[in-house]
Symmetry: C2
Subunit: 297 residues, 2 copies
Amino acid sequence: MSLVIVGSIGLDTISTPSGSVIDAIGGSAVYGSISASYFTRVKLIGVVGSDYPPSAIKVLQRHNINLDGLERAEGKTFRWTGEYHDLNKAETLLTELNVFADFVPQLPQSCISCHSLLLANIHPNLQLQVLDKTGSYQHVACDTMNFWIEGCPDELARVISRVHIVFMNEDEVKSFTKETNIFSSAKAILDMGPKLVLVKRGEYGSAAITKDAIYFAPAYPIGVVKDPTGAGDSFAGTFMACLEEHLELSEYAIKEALGYATVMAGLNVSEFSVGGILDIPREKIDEYKENLCRMTI
Amino acid sequence: MSLVIVGSIGLDTISTPSGSVIDAIGGSAVYGSISASYFTRVKLIGVVGSDYPPSAIKVLQRHNINLDGLERAEGKTFRWTGEYHDLNKAETLLTELNVFADFVPQLPQSCISCHSLLLANIHPNLQLQVLDKTGSYQHVACDTMNFWIEGCPDELARVISRVHIVFMNEDEVKSFTKETNIFSSAKAILDMGPKLVLVKRGEYGSAAITKDAIYFAPAYPIGVVKDPTGAGDSFAGTFMACLEEHLELSEYAIKEALGYATVMAGLNVSEFSVGGILDIPREKIDEYKENLCRMTI
């Protein structure tokens, strides 16, 4: 059993009301992989430049993340600079694609047919290229962001029609479907093919919506949210990792995955960059999950 | 065992994207009492004018609401005219106090010492007058609104310092406490004396916060919200009614009350005025509550 995660690997410069970091470990695939690593074997596919710090590689290795699909290209690593005035919305100040500009995802033989595949937030065309190369997967999911919804909705629609599970935040799902509430939005997505839509609602938690059921999780209550970057990636990575044990998207499977995804997203925002999701004893994570379930009616 | 509810009784003229009603049954005490009536014996205290329709009285009687504390004054009944452009925020177009202007709440002997008291949304000075007249109550709660938070925060603070349970929506609790999140806001309220704060978050559900614990409920998923008026009153009335069976604010008591309060608030918004909360078979309510619990992780 293993989960393949394809997405961005970057160095983030982030400023929030709690402080700032420069060239910190970031990228959708990195957040997703580290969070997922507590629950299953993860294989990361992405590209880094020659300046990618060995210490960051060590972090991934320490979390037993398989790096066979990690391409090391000549040039600079992808960089993102962002600022949060309020904690609900990132303002992108600078995106430097660097080696990511020419990235063509290659799937090592060991990644062609695994249990689950998460197409983390990257250009929908790259997500489509991966889908063209993949064999048999039990669960295939995509995440995305407003930038692609506005910039290439048709390509994104093609991705969505080919996956089982879609991760979007509330604004994104409404804007993509042009619906006014998350239920009608999710229905529109389900009508395109997927079996499950995960709507992320920031401090209000999340909803998992299938054709027949709706499940809700509150956000894990965090005293001070230091840095929201990567919370959605941690959520998606964890959710997919937790599905590893299940063939079907059963009520039990969805609720378990939703609970752990919520916990990892909460830990994610409690520190800058990946600081909140590193080296956590697994029993601590289980304890947080139990706390969370006890907090819901 | 009985729950005394003191609040406004009015006739509402409401316009929402789903339609409009004129002089419909309304008022915080009415919404609260009807919703509470499914769970306990309710005694309503308020005032109506000579124009209050007998059909509205019949609705209250049909729900076995004790009207010993209902004052009938000469003049016109309190009227509120409001509009919802989006469903999260009412715009008040007109408030006509009418007989409510000179209302001095009188507690019949049978209401001086009951199990629970809900000071529904009215002027904090009226809430204080009621508190001065009450004897021994197991649970005393107050609800309020932004109008009083802005207009008479000191009087409201005095009310809050004398009750066990406070109902406020998210914006209100932040604006009253000048805090930026619901947890620090709730802490500020708890520091004033109450043992429990219920933060209502509209379509995002609610949180119940004590010194030691936090509980969350999602909103009941309603396809089309026709009229949000009174949802908070139904929520508060039901919550207090469900506490009737409990002496302590235990985890079980709070979760049960939160679940039923969520269901009644959901039914409330599914129709205009009190249309959604009338004449519901109790087993239907229990079924909705079970559904809701199943929808949470």
